[in-house]
């Protein structure tokens, strides 16, 4: 049996993701020796690990390559998404330090789990094999299940964790089933190899086309669950509401990034040419993603209207935003647009990351220690009692709506552009219309803050770290919004990497 030498593994490329996982293990042990009342040390150690991974990722970023004999690919696509994820993790840690303390759930494992799931997402970004995708998916999910229940024995949090776990396992099963079907049809789990097999299947060699189509559908469902698109979204509001707020914030961005990374890579690297018959113009999965995206946009945005809890509102809004990213995925099914659409998805994710984390950070700043204070009514009068906080929140809301000069606009703009480029006009129209609908509930938050009377919450606890998180995300939102070329140029070659890095 031919085993690789260490140098063939290209371990250097895996340093960002691996170091984080390793550091999580070490931190688990270190944490045992940190006294209970000084758990913030763990937080800073975890943050240090994230920073290290970030720097390592920047070093790897412009030097694409393949590691672990093709199982792991470090391309710019992965590098870009790693940046998003690591920023998410960093901001989540900032948000957590005081939150955990004041809600009385400060335990070191929290940060360890956060690092674990972050590394899982990073593996997901780089996974080049269905098996690796699955392992990364589990590494991503299982710590999140625990984190969602981290506020135990508080009932809602336990409920959130359990629901997420059961349904997550259910969805994972679909993914595995899909992967198995594709393996059965192509005889390989390696994405680049699958491409060739798909070509052969289309040419009529073997009768595996049915299996491929079913497999891709099941994978779409499994990952669709992770990114919370309709109709695989139902866990989202319950879990988002029940989980500790920083976890929700992290989940709403991190899990989506990982899910979309895997989805984009599988669909674009392994199944770009999967059509019902040879010679079809667009990928066979385009219609399915199209429909799911449309459903997600419509349902996510409409149901968000009737929400009265900010965390639930943001949960539904995050469903809706997943819909916008899925629009880009659908657009990527049209040959020739896939690069542009991938780029759009990435930009959207980054914009969404800043804005959504910021919104959660503000929501957290006014949340009370017992977990109450997350109703929309609690925002009333905030404009008077905390004008700066309210103004920043207003910017986040506008960004989520997609108003120009904010990151959200840039994201929507590129996504709509790609969708139209791909010829999916109806989907683009749905996207625009639902953005208009979304304005309704986002603006309501602003209205509550500035135009409604209420005592506000003078005790609103925006502790320094949370404030840093808010400022950081605020800066990101504005910088992306005002100088979009920063990312539109940065991610220029990213999309190409998906296609060109196929060995």
């Amino acid at each position: 049996m031919q085993l690789p030498s260490l140098s063939e593994l290209n371990l250097g490329l895996t340093v960002p993701a691996l170091s984080l996982a390793l550091w999580a293990c070490i931190l688990l042990v270190i944490d045992l020796f940190i006294p209970r009342d000084r758990k913030s040390v763990t937080a800073w150690l975890a943050a240090g690990g994230v920073v290290f991974a970030f720097i390592a990722n920047l070093l790897v970023y412009r030097d694409p390559g393949v590691a672990f004999m093709g199982l792991f690919v470090a391309d710019e696509f992965a590098g870009f998404l790693n940046i998003v994820v690591l920023l998410t993790a960093f901001i989540a840690i900032l948000m957590s330090v005081d939150y955990l303390k004041r809600t009385g759930i400060e335990r070191g494992e929290y940060y360890v789990l956060l690092l674990m799931t972050t590394s899982g997402i990073m593996f997901m970004n780089s996974a080049n094999d269905l098996a690796v995708v699955f392992i990364a998916l589990e590494l991503l999910s299982i710590p999140l299940y625990v984190l969602a229940a981290f506020r135990a024995p508080e009932e809602r949090s336990e409920e959130a964790g359990l629901k997420y776990f059961i349904l997550g396992a259910f969805a994972s099963a679909f993914f595995v089933f899909g992967a198995a079907l594709i393996y059965g049809a192509t005889g390989s789990s390696s994405l680049p190899v699958i491409v060739d097999a798909v070509g052969r299947a289309l040419a009529g060699e073997g009768s595996s086309l049915l299996l491929l189509l079913m497999g891709s559908g099941l994978i779409l469902a499994g990952l669709g669950f992770k990114v919370a698109v309709v109709p695989f979204h139902m866990w989202t509001p319950d879990v988002y509401e029940g989980a500790p707020t920083p976890v929700t914030a992290f989940m709403s961005v991190g899990a989506k990034v990982g899910g979309f990374a895997a989805l984009l890579r599988i669909l674009l690297v392994a199944l770009p040419a999967l059509t019902v018959a040879e010679g079809d113009a667009v990928a066979g999965w385009q219609t399915a993603t199209w429909v799911v995206a449309a459903l997600t946009l419509i349902l996510g945005n409409i149901v968000a209207i009737s929400q009265t809890n900010i965390k639930r509102l943001l949960a539904y809004s995050s469903i809706a935003h997943a819909g916008y990213v899925l629009m880009a995925v659908a657009a990527a099914g049209t040959p020739g647009v896939s690069d542009q659409a991938t780029r759009a998805a990435l930009i959207y994710l980054m914009a969404y990351m800043f804005t959504n984390l910021g919104a959660f950070a503000v929501a957290m700043a006014i949340e009370k220690d017992d977990g109450s204070g997350t109703s929309l009514d609690d925002f009333k009068g905030l404009g008077r009692s905390r004008p700066l906080l309210a103004a920043i929140m207003a910017v986040f809301m506008l960004s989520l709506t997609g108003i120009p000069l904010t990151a959200g606009f840039v994201g929507k703009w590129v996504v709509f552009q790609a969708t139209i480029e791909a010829g999916l006009y109806t989907l683009a129209v749905i996207g625009v219309l639902t953005s208009v609908i979304s304005a309704f509930y986002y603006v309501r938050v602003i209205v509550n803050m500035f135009l409604e009377d209420g005592e506000g919450d003078p005790a609103a606890a925006a502790t320094p770290y949370v404030q840093w998180a808010i400022y950081l995300t605020f800066a990101g939102t504005l910088v992306l919004g005002i100088i979009p070329s920063l990312v539109t140029n940065l991610s220029g070659p990213v999309a190409l990497a998906v296609a060109s890095l196929v060995p």
Partner: protein
């Protein structure tokens, strides 16, 4: 075409087990005192009540121990095939296994420090 001979040992085993069960039951009935009671006649005499709600209170320690057991039991499942082909795999596999065990040890150490292994 398989012959009957091939199944002869299985048949012998079958007969032997039936005879053994019958023999033991009859002997204990012949020589042992027989004072039946409600509790004694219940199936699974030493265990729980066979009839009742399926979900019931259980000391959580059982679960902890059970989970830890499964965790470290699986470890062995991985190690067995590795051990069989260890010579062919060489140094690389050794390193892999050391990493694997190290990770498990971290978990073990964690569980230990957290007091998960103490019954009281």
């Amino acid at each position: 075409m398989p012959t009957f001979d091939e199944f002869a040992p299985i048949g012998a085993l079958l007969i032997l087990s039936v005879v053994m069960v019958a023999l033991i039951t009859i002997i204990s009935r012949l020589f042992g005192p027989y004072r039946p009671s409600l509790r004694k006649t219940a199936p699974y005499e030493s265990g729980m009540k066979p009839i009742g709600p399926a979900v019931r209170r259980f000391p959580v320690r059982f679960y902890l121990i059970a989970v830890l057991f499964i965790l470290f039991d699986i470890e062995v499942v991985f190690m067995l095939p590795w051990a069989v082909v260890f010579r062919q795999l060489g140094l690389f596999a050794l390193i892999e296994m050391v990493i694997f065990i190290a990770i498990l040890l971290v978990g073990y150490f964690y569980a230990w420090r957290k007091g998960a292994l103490e019954w009281e």
